[in-house]
């Protein structure tokens, strides 16, 4: 299936061919500790299922204030 992926504010891929969120994390070499995941506007954990044309945003949790 193909999904649209954003990491923070940047669009990484419109058509990433993956089967799960875990696979996206692995393909993009992200550290799960450092992101929260928003699927189609809803916060989700990394083990939820995804389907074709889903939009996934990985928002960085690190900040320095």
């Amino acid at each position: 299936m193909k999904v649209k992926v954003y990491v923070d504010k940047g669009e990484i891929s419109k058509n990433l061919d993956v089967k799960s969120i875990k696979e996206i994390i692995s393909k993009l070499d992200l550290n799960e500790e450092e992101f929260i995941i928003v699927k189609n506007g809803e916060l989700v954990s990394s083990d939820v299922e995804i389907k074709d044309k889903d939009e996934l945003k990985f928002l960085s949790v690190t900040s320095a204030g």
Partner: protein, 302 residues
């Protein structure tokens, strides 16, 4: 599925690997904050708590949860203090968020700036001296926060430091052979009580950065989260990246660092108790040397 109620999960907890839904996560988060406050006696009725507010996710979440805890206690007061370092394109943005929240929630909001209090904004310092300013900024912020909190008659200063921040600080002090600095860490900081030093409390001490971000996101506390433009390239930034990588491979590493540190912290505090809090000969603020680090840096900038 959420381990407790079998609905849609919003997070897999970093330390335990347990998945929780929105409602169960918010309960879990609040319970952990309340427990830290209770176990470490972070404040009592009648205290004036100053929240060191930056407008970022940690301090906004802290103000939000402390407001819900303190509001029913009529005798305890909550105020917000923001230190404006003068970082164009960053602090102005977060300051607006902080100000708006305080106004909407009827919380006293005070701003103190580097420019006014020290004579230099951080942008000016970086431009003039071409340095990575994180250490200097940290010293200035800590000292200004203490001074301004005292002015406002604050009895406890609450900061949004979380488990990630603390585990990084512990390692940074180890790597730099600064063990005496670690004696000043912990859920309630300060080796001893001092009239001039406002003790600091860290209600998020046992919560990870990911959990704090999740809480902030679920409460709509900020739509986007900016990172200070100077943080990249700092020593902390490198330690953070290393620790996160390690924690990804060996879960709960950061938690273990904190837990083992808390075992030795009483010994560290006892060992460094004899180092009395002195008064800086130049500005009279509390410090451990004859001249405080803030005055040393200001001298260097002149």
């Amino acid at each position: 599925m959420c381990k407790r109620c079998k609905t849609k999960p919003v997070i897999k907890l970093p330390n335990s690997g347990i998945s929780l839904c929105k409602s169960c996560f918010l309960k879990y988060f609040e319970r952990k904050v309340r427990k830290a406050i209770r176990v470490y006696e972070m404040f009592k009725k009648g205290d004036t708590i100053g929240v060191a507010l930056s407008g970022g996710k940690d301090s906004m979440s802290l103000l939000h949860i402390l407001n819900s805890i303190v509001k029913p206690q009529r005798k305890t007061k909550l105020i917000a203090i923001l230190i404006d370092e003068g970082i164009k394109g960053y602090r102005n943005h977060t300051k607006k968020i902080a100000e708006k929240y305080c106004k909407e929630n009827d919380i006293e909001f005070h701003v103190f700036s580097f420019e006014k209090e020290l004579g230099y904004s951080l942008d000016k310092i970086v431009k003039k001296f071409n340095l990575i300013p994180c250490s200097m900024c940290g010293v200035f912020r800590r000292s200004l926060l203490n001074k301004c909190a005292r002015k406002l008659k604050v009895t406890r200063l609450a900061t949004g430091h979380n488990l990630d921040d603390e585990s990084q600080s512990i390692l940074m002090n180890q790597f730099r052979n600064n063990v005496s600095m670690s004696a000043r860490l912990g859920p309630v900081t300060g080796v001893k009580d001092d009239k001039k030093f406002v003790r600091r409390i860290k209600p998020f001490y046992f919560l990870t950065e990911k959990e704090t971000m999740t809480y902030a996101y679920l409460n709509g506390l900020a739509s986007e989260f900016n990172e200070c433009p100077y943080v990249r390239g700092s020593f902390r930034h490198e330690v953070r990246a290393m620790l996160n990588k390690f924690d990804g491979k060996y879960p709960a590493t950061k938690y273990s660092i904190i837990k083992s540190f808390l075992e030795v912290l009483p010994l560290l505090k006892k060992n460094y108790k004899k180092l009395a809090i002195k008064s800086c000969k130049s500005c009279k603020e509390p410090c451990s040397q004859d001249i405080c680090q803030t005055c040393e840096y200001v001298k260097m900038l002149k």
